[in-house]
Amino acid sequence: METVGALIIAKYNYWAVVVLIVIGLYAMIAKKNLVKKIIGMNIFQTAIILFYVSIGAKRGATLPIIEHAHGHGGHAVQAADYINPLPHVLMLTAIVVSVATLGVALALAMRIYFHYGTLEEDEIQKKIIGNEPAPGDGTG
């Protein structure tokens, strides 16, 4: 029983990431609505961010800001005292970029809605195949 508990404590971060990745991927594949696909993509991105940040953790270490940096000089900085800062740097930029790409995705969805009058994938496909005259770039 103890080993199972230790296993859960050691790996639960990966399992949470797997659950989020599966939810996001399923939404991207199976949902017909484009906005729901975009939401799925965002859940997927969040899972990747969680994965990176949880990799950076170290037991018994603190956040990567050196304590008493100025004034108390002279003591050596031990790598084991601070968590791994690299995943945090990578994800810091990734979060902001994911917001910006979310904006682009919503803008694309908006254009599709103006052109086809719907956000449902199968209806858009029907309109493309059926060669119906598109209702034009709605001006109002």
Partner: protein
């Protein structure tokens, strides 16, 4: 299609789940991710750059190229929204209606006509305009300056506490967007126009790029801030610290402007009229 997708996704999840037993434990200090480059960063940041916040030092100095191009990506996302919605999207209605308040006359102004937008005597009339709620309006008016002040603190204090250009820029952009939501889009574009948000966005990227080029001009490599030490009163280590601050300010300006720019275009579907 739905069932096929579900099966594929479950198989994929099971594969990832089985791999997770091979990955290092949570909090393992000896994991591969924590044993190669990151100890160097932790142990040498202070003597290289004199910046206590290791994340800031890596972001703007050790991985300066990465951050430069991430900023460029954010700016090009703003541009993409602009081209998708503003250039080729819906056009603003041709005529605008104004009420002349003292006389009660209604004016119809065709495109190209003089628009008395700023005047207090004229009130714009259109179908999508919604009067803003007094309580929401006043609360946001109280809160927005403090959010902006906090954003500036986050940018300026990024060397010593969690923070930096990206975080502060997003907070500042969120404050401006809160103002736009609580009042209306028109009064926020009057304070920060679309043109100036686009210019500020490119200006922020140019500050970053210009700092890198200045380092070349002063005889060091691209984005090697120790080149700035030829300026009076700086040694190579504090020059790196100051270079990081300049770059973070550039990133903060770019992120703020692009967030607001994307919001303007998305909220109004590209017309810059009232939306949402």
């Amino acid at each position: 299609m739905k069932r096929l997708g579900l099966v594929a996704v479950i198989i994929f999840g099971a594969l990832l789940f089985s791999v997770s037993f091979e990955l290092p434990d949570l909090g393992d200090a000896q994991s591969p991710a924590s044993t190669h480059v990151s100890p160097y960063y932790i142990e040498h940041t202070l003597e290289d750059t004199s910046v206590p916040n290791i994340v800031t030092a890596i972001l703007a100095d050790y991985r300066g190229y990465d951050t430069l191009f991430e900023t460029a990506v954010i700016f090009s996302a703003g541009l993409a929204c602009f081209f998708l919605l503003r250039i080729t999207g819906r056009k603003a209605p041709k005529a605008r209606f104004y009420r002349h308040l003292p006389t009660g006359l209604t004016l119809r102004i065709e495109k190209g006509g003089r628009l008395p937008e700023e005047s207090r005597e004229f009130e714009r009339i259109d179908s999508v305009w919604v009067p803003s709620d007094v309580i929401i309006n006043m609360t946001c008016r109280l809160v927005v300056p403090f959010i902006q002040l906090f954003a500036l603190y986050v940018i300026a204090h990024g060397h010593h506490s969690p923070g930096g250009g990206f975080q502060g820029g997003v907070i500042f952009g969120a404050a401006l967007i809160l103002f736009a939501i609580s009042n209306n889009l028109r009064s926020s574009t009057r304070r920060l126009s679309e043109r100036s948000s686009a210019l500020l966005g490119s200006g922020g990227v140019l500050i970053y790029l210009g700092t890198g080029l200045l380092c070349i001009l002063l005889g060091a490599g691209f984005l090697n801030y120790s080149g700035l030490s030829v300026l009076p009163g700086l040694d190579p280590v504090s020059a790196r610290s100051h270079g990081i601050l300049i770059v973070e300010i550039g990133v903060g300006i770019a992120v703020t402007a692009v967030m607001v720019w994307i919001y303007y275009n998305l909220a109004s579907a590209g017309t810059q009229e009232e939306g949402l």
